[in-house]
């Protein structure tokens, strides 16, 4: 059976693999037998091997070196290109993060291949589905040159366990000088949240400019907590200083695709839609009946968020207790 390389995204806090990796392993199965590729500083593979076995990785290629951590992106692309040359896989599947896309692009040049970014599905013949124009158009595309490289959009495939041997194979990492030009001298975490990670959450409650202040975001957090949801924000809310940038949803924020997205005090600008339009169910609360967000909403409430949302939170909490 053909081999498909899947690049593993390791959670930065060392808690294991990101869900995107399990999604990529699942999506890769239609093309062949997935082999996971773990690239990082020494010790990276230890925390992820079990999850990779559980989600069907036949092999786990481990390339560990301090150089991978010390320089931006380029070393990973180099090691992956070497693996593609050695193994001639049927395809390469990479989680669609900013880093994942950069790796895909570099890999395409190095291997003389085509690539498709942000795919939401891959078919057995290699045809991929993509959404264009902020979700308004669905496109089917195919790589016509070299080894097809895909980056898979988060939350578009449901991870399904499958037993894999996860046979470990060490990959020698010899990073060239060309790939050592951009040094990563520090990694700074400014915000941490105890709520679910936005890109992995099945429910998201987002607030916009309509929330009106940083303090009033407690209204959004209250509803989120009653639902066990993550909190998101529009760029206007972020720019106004109501909520930190790391919670921004949209074109220059996170791309999310939860089961339920509740947009509160958000007008629904195209750049916001670009990040949430593929959510399964969309609910909106907005006092303006003409707000474009209602065009997307499966259920909309025209009303003041300051009365509707706290009352809803109370009722949901009461139900949970009952």
């Amino acid at each position: 059976m053909a081999e498909v390389l899947v690049l593993v995204e390791v959670a930065p806090d060392g808690s294991g693999v990101r869900k995107t990796t399990l999604e990529a392993l699942t999506a890769a199965r239609v093309l062949g037998e997935p082999s996971a590729v773990v690239l990082g500083a020494p010790g990276t593979a230890a925390s992820v091997k079990d999850a990779l076995a559980e989600y069907g990785a036949a092999k786990v290629y481990v390339g560990e070196s301090d150089d991978i951590d010390a320089y931006l992106v380029a070393p990973k692309a180099e090691v992956l290109a070497q693996l593609v040359a050695d193994r001639s896989p049927a395809a390469v599947v990479i989680p669609s993060t900013p880093e994942g896309k950069e790796i895909a692009g570099r890999l395409a040049i190095k291997t003389g291949s085509g690539f498709l970014t942000d795919v939401t599905d891959i078919a057995a013949d290699g045809t991929a589905t993509q959404v264009a124009f902020a979700g308004a158009t669905v496109v089917h595309s195919k790589v016509t040159t070299g080894t097809p490289i895909y980056t898979l959009r988060g939350n578009s495939v449901t991870p399904e366990p499958a037993a894999g041997a996860a046979e470990e194979e060490t990959v020698t990492v010899a990073v060239s000088d060309a790939a050592k030009q951009t040094r990563v001298v520090d990694r700074v975490v400014e915000q941490k949240s105890d709520r679910p990670e936005l890109t992995e959450a099945s429910i998201i409650v987002s607030g916009g400019r309509g929330v009106a202040s940083a303090e009033n975001f407690s209204v959004i957090e209250g509803l989120a907590d009653s639902l066990g949801a993550a909190v998101g924000a529009s760029r206007a809310a972020v720019d106004s200083g109501f909520y930190p940038h790391s919670f921004q949803v949209g074109q220059t924020g996170k791309t999310v695709s939860p089961q339920l997205y509740i947009a509160v005090g958000i007008s629904g600008a195209i750049q916001h839609r670009a990040g949430m339009q593929t959510s399964k169910t969309i609910v909106a609360v907005n006092k303006d009946p003409e707000a474009p967000i209602f065009e997307l909403a499966d259920f909309g409430v025209v009303g003041d968020l300051n009365t509707v949302v706290p009352a809803a939170t109370e009722q949901i909490t009461a139900r949970a207790r009952a």
Binding site: L72, K101, I109, T117, V143, T182, R187, V301, Q315, I316
Partner: protein, 259 residues
């Protein structure tokens, strides 16, 4: 310091956008075309670097003859001159092919710093700067929310999920900007008038020594097979809060088995 800023003309993201059913490429002729809004941050940053380091800002775009609007916008913001690579053979090129054309154009220009946007709103691949870095063998500092230039030393804060990564490299280099980096200026009336007199050089593939057969739809590394409007969601329900909005909302969530 020679700064090249890459801008792309795209269909306005606020207007109706479509693919052309004759060849599945972005319908550019019928669209309301503007500068890719993410590239305004790149232009602003280029002008800021010039103000502190001195030098010249050159706008580079690869696109159809009509792509002059994006160039004019960048010039009216304050860029000094522009290079427009245009050739009918480029139509339908994939990102891999376009990167070869941009790389060829950059190789002809003298540059210390290339500044790009984070993403173009039509293709949304956000890989062009990485492709160029790979082709040109110069470092890429991506997703900049802050750029500091000190002679040949570059420092970037790369925007990440919950903070930033501090990056360092030497010129010549490519920096791609995030929208947290600055607030793009509006062109002044004076700027708009001055832009009309600024030099715009038009180059063809032959001028760059790029083989026309290596670009374009026929030899693209990926192809769009078909497309369709996203199936419309069933007509949503909209209620007006008359004291019962929360109840109806919770009722909906209950019906969906969410609560």
């Amino acid at each position: 310091m020679n700064i090249v800023v890459l801008v792309k003309q795209v269909p306005d993201s606020g207007s109706e956008r479509a693919l052309d059913s004759s060849d599945n490429t972005v319908a550019r002729a019928s669209a309301d075309n503007v500068i890719n809004e993410m590239d305004e941050y790149a232009v602003e940053e280029a002008l800021t670097v010039k103000e502190s380091q001195g030098g010249e800002v050159t706008v580079l775009t690869v696109g159809p003859a009509g792509a002059t609007d994006a160039i004019r916008k960048a010039l009216s913001m304050g860029a000094d001159k522009a290079v427009h690579v245009t050739d009918d053979a480029i139509h339908g090129s994939c990102a891999v092919q376009t990167s070869a054309v941009i790389a060829a154009a950059l190789s002809q220009l003298e540059y210390d710093l290339v500044i790009c946007g984070a993403e173009s709103t039509d293709g949304q691949v956000s890989v062009m700067p990485a492709l160029l870095s790979e082709r040109l063998g110069v470092p890429h500092l991506s997703g900049a929310r802050k750029l500091t230039v000190d002679g040949t030393s570059l420092k970037v804060e790369r925007q990440t999920d919950g903070g930033f990564w501090a990056l360092e490299a030497q010129t010549p280099a490519i920096v791609s900007t995030w929208d947290t980096i600055n607030e793009p200026r509006y062109p002044s009336f004076k700027g708009i008038m001055a832009a009309k007199k600024k030099p715009v050089t038009t180059l063809s593939l032959a001028d760059l020594g790029v083989d026309a057969g290596s670009v374009g739809l026929a030899s693209a590394t990926s192809q769009v097979l078909d497309f369709a409007g996203r199936p419309p969601k069933g007509e949503g329900v909209k209620v007006t809060d008359e004291g019962d909005g929360a109840e109806k909302l919770v009722g909906y969530l209950a019906a969906q088995k969410i609560v």
